[in-house]
């Protein structure tokens, strides 16, 4: 499993959010919210 470049994780109001940036922000017009497990996985990749 590999993390696609261009996605960054930020804490917003205590929630963990994945936000597309740069080129990915043009391709993907959305955000993802992660639970605790998702956050651990995201940070491990």
């Amino acid at each position: 499993m590999k993390l696609k470049p261009g996605y960054i994780v930020r804490s917003i109001a205590g929630e963990t959010i994945v936000v597309p940036t740069g080129e990915e922000a043009i391709r993907f017009n959305g955000i993802m919210t992660l639970n605790k497990t998702g956050k651990v996985l995201f940070e491990a990749l």
Binding site: I8, R10, S11, I12, A13, G14, E15, I17, V19, T21, G22, E23, A25, I26, R27, N29, G30, I31, T33
Partner: protein
């Protein structure tokens, strides 16, 4: 036309070429203060395309991340030419928008839209959030009706203005929100969508209503996750990592401290009365 304007506390030296979208909207923002930002729209066919390979190619758009600036070019097949080129430095203090005269009668609208987008980038840099909403001032408090296009933002605003004569429009499309001293304030700007309705005003935020059409008028509290989703669906989204970082703090504070509701509403004047009743209850 070139002049200096102060918009939402941001002082900008702005040059535009067409008056159609700016007449009646921008003069009220004129300022004598020294500008921090400069944005210029030029109309010309000779586009200075960078000679290096683009950093990003997406559909008809090339993006060049150069040492001193970023350049975006957009190619239009129907023109068989570049339709526009935008260059800006990393802190958005120098923005140049070049439009191809071959665009003809589309030029004024494209000038208005692109200059708006880059003003929103500047606003992000200055800690302001741009929300897709119709914003009205009522009893010196700002009510924001936010939703994707065609949901009925302006319709609800018009019902409200007809029923409550002391209300006025701050911005009918993209008001700006800034946190100052523990409060949120809503600012107008000349970029107010298809209508000219905007005012050079700063009004304390009361509530953001995220709209959806309903079978009855119903105000529904939002969970934190729903607030995040609604905001991200309706804000002008930061694209650069540095801009995301700048927006994160303001968004966090907005989610934790500002009043936000979902509002399922009927398309008639009763929708405005429900809002007024809600305000009466809250302000008692």
């Amino acid at each position: 036309m070139r002049s200096v304007y102060e918009i939402a506390g941001i002082v900008i030296d702005f040059t535009y070429q067409y008056s159609e979208f700016f007449d009646q909207r921008i003069e009220r923002y004129s300022s004598n203060l020294p500008p921090k930002y400069k944005m210029e729209v030029q109309i010309r066919e000779d586009f200075l395309i960078p000679t290096v390979n683009p950093s990003v190619i997406y559909k008809n758009r090339n993006i060049y991340y150069l040492k001193s600036k970023t350049v975006i070019t957009v190619f239009k097949e129907e023109l068989n030419a570049f339709s526009h080129l935008i260059s800006y430095n990393s802190d958005f203090t120098e923005i140049i928008i070049v439009l191809n005269p071959l665009l003809g009668d589309k030029l004024p609208e494209l000038e208005y839209l692109l200059s708006g987008v880059f003003f929103y980038e500047i606003a992000l840099k200055e800690g302001l959030i741009t929300l897709h909403a119709s914003a009205i001032s009522y009893h010196e408090q700002a009510l924001l009706f936010s939703a994707p296009s065609q949901t009925g933002k302006s319709t609800l605003t018009n019902y409200f203005l007809k029923m409550y004569k002391d209300a006025f429009i701050i911005n009918d499309d993209k008001p700006l929100i800034k946190q100052e001293g523990g409060h949120f304030y809503v600012y107008g700007s000349p970029w107010s969508g298809k209508d000219v309705f905007n005012s050079n005003s700063k009004v304390m935020l009361h509530t953001i209503f995220f709209l959806e059409q309903g079978l009855e008028n119903k105000l529904i509290p939002l969970t934190k996750k729903e607030k995040i989703n609604e905001l991200f669906r309706n804000i002008y989204r930061p694209r650069e990592e540095s801009q995301v970082n700048l927006a994160s703090d303001t968004l966090s504070s907005l989610i934790e401290n500002a009043s936000m509701m979902k509002y399922a509403f009927l398309n008639d004047s009763s929708a405005a009365i429900t809002i007024q009743d809600y305000l009466g209850g809250v302000n008692k």
